[in-house]
C-alpha cells in the first residue's frame, strides 16, 4: 500500500518529500524562519536531521509535546522517529515556523 499512499499524498499536494527507505536519514532545513521541506514522510526507525541555516536558534517541537529538538544557529539536530503518526510541529521560539512529519509504520 506504500505506493498508493504516496501517490495519494502527491495528488493532494500534501507531500514535501517522498517517504524514505526504512532506516535512512531525512534532512530538513531551517532557513528563512521556515522548515524546508515543510512536510516529510518517513518510516519508524528513520532519522530526521534538522540543519539550522538561520542566525538564531530554533526548535523542532511536536505540538502534542511528544518530542522536542533544540537546534542552535548553524548546527544540526537529529532524532530517530520511534512511533508512527502524523505530527504537526513548530519552533517554540518562533511559532510562525510550522511543519508536519508523517511517520509510517
Amino acid at each position: 500500500m506504500r505506493r498508493p499512499t504516496i501517490l495519494a499524498a502527491v495528488a493532494l499536494g500534501m507531500l514535501g518529500s517522498p517517504a524514505s527507505p526504512a532506516g535512512t536519514t531525512q534532512s530538513i532545513r531551517m532557513m528563512g524562519i521556515a522548515f524546508e521541506p515543510k512536510q516529510v514522510t518517513v518510516h519508524v526507525g528513520d532519522t530526521l536531521e534538522w540543519a539550522n541555516h538561520d542566525i538564531v536558534a530554533h526548535t523542532a517541537t511536536a505540538k502534542d509535546k511528544s518530542w522536542d529538538v533544540n537546534v542552535l544557529a548553524g548546527k544540526n539536530g537529529r532524532m530517530v522517529m520511534k512511533a508512527p503518526g502524523h505530527f504537526d510541529y513548530i519552533c517554540r521560539y518562533h511559532p510562525n515556523m510550522t511543519g508536519a512529519i508523517i511517520v509510517e509504520p
Partner: protein
C-alpha cells in the same frame, strides 16, 4: 521619505507627538535605518533583562531569555553588516524617540511586581513587536537602499513576527493582571 511616511512610522512605533518631525521631509538613510533597527533590538533586550531581574515565572523568564538571545544575534549581524559596508549607524530623531518611549515603559514596568509585572511585560512584548514589525514592513524595509540591509531587515521581520506570536501565546497563558504595585 515623505513627511507623511515619517508620521506614519512614528504612529507605527507609538511615538506621539513625535520628535522625529524635526527631521522634516528628509529621507532616512541606510545608516539611520540600521541605527533604528539596532536601537529597537537593544530596547527589547533591556526589557528582557528587566524581566529576568523581576520575574520568577518560568515561562516569562524563558521568553525573556529567547528575546535576549535572538535580538543579540540579529544586532550582531547588523553591526557586522554596517562594518562590512563601511558605514556608521547614525543616531536620529526616530531612534532617540524610541529610547525615550522605552525609558517611560521601563519605569512603568518597574513599578509592577509578580503576576502583574509578568502580564504587563508580556502584553508590552506583543504591542512592541507589533509596532516594530509594522515599521519594518511599511517603512524601514521599503526604504532601505542596500540589498544586504534589506535582506537582514526582512529576516529580522520574520524572526520578530515569531516573537509576536510567542508573546501572544504567553499573554494567554498568564493569569489576568492584578495591578499589584511594587512596594
Amino acid at each position: 521619505m515623505s513627511k507623511l511616511r515619517l508620521t506614519l512610522l512614528g504612529a507605527c512605533l507609538g511615538l506621539a507627538p513625535y520628535a522625529a518631525m524635526a527631521q522634516g521631509a528628509a529621507k532616512l538613510t541606510d545608516p539611520q535605518i540600521a541605527h533604528i533597527a539596532h536601537t529597537a533590538g537593544q530596547i527589547d533586550i533591556q526589557a528582557a533583562e528587566l524581566a529576568l531581574k523581576q520575574s520568577k515565572n518560568k515561562e516569562v523568564r524563558a521568553f525573556a531569555d529567547d528575546m535576549v538571545r535572538d535580538h543579540k544575534a540579529v544586532n550582531e549581524k547588523a553591526l557586522a553588516l554596517v562594518k562590512k559596508l563601511n558605514v556608521k549607524p547614525e543616531d536620529n530623531d526616530t531612534s532617540r524617540s524610541l529610547m525615550q518611549q522605552a525609558e517611560a515603559k521601563r519605569k512603568e514596568l518597574s513599578a509592577l511586581k509578580g503576576a502583574a509585572f509578568d502580564k504587563a511585560y508580556a502584553q508590552n512584548e506583543v504591542a512592541y513587536h507589533q509596532q516594530v514589525n509594522g515599521a519594518l514592513q511599511g517603512t524601514l524595509i521599503p526604504n532601505a537602499s542596500n540589498g544586504e540591509l534589506k535582506d537582514l531587515l526582512s529576516t529580522g521581520l520574520k524572526i520578530f513576527q515569531g516573537h509576536q506570536q510567542h508573546a501572544e501565546h504567553l499573554v494567554h497563558a498568564l493569569p489576568a493582571r492584578t495591578g499589584a504595585l511594587a512596594h
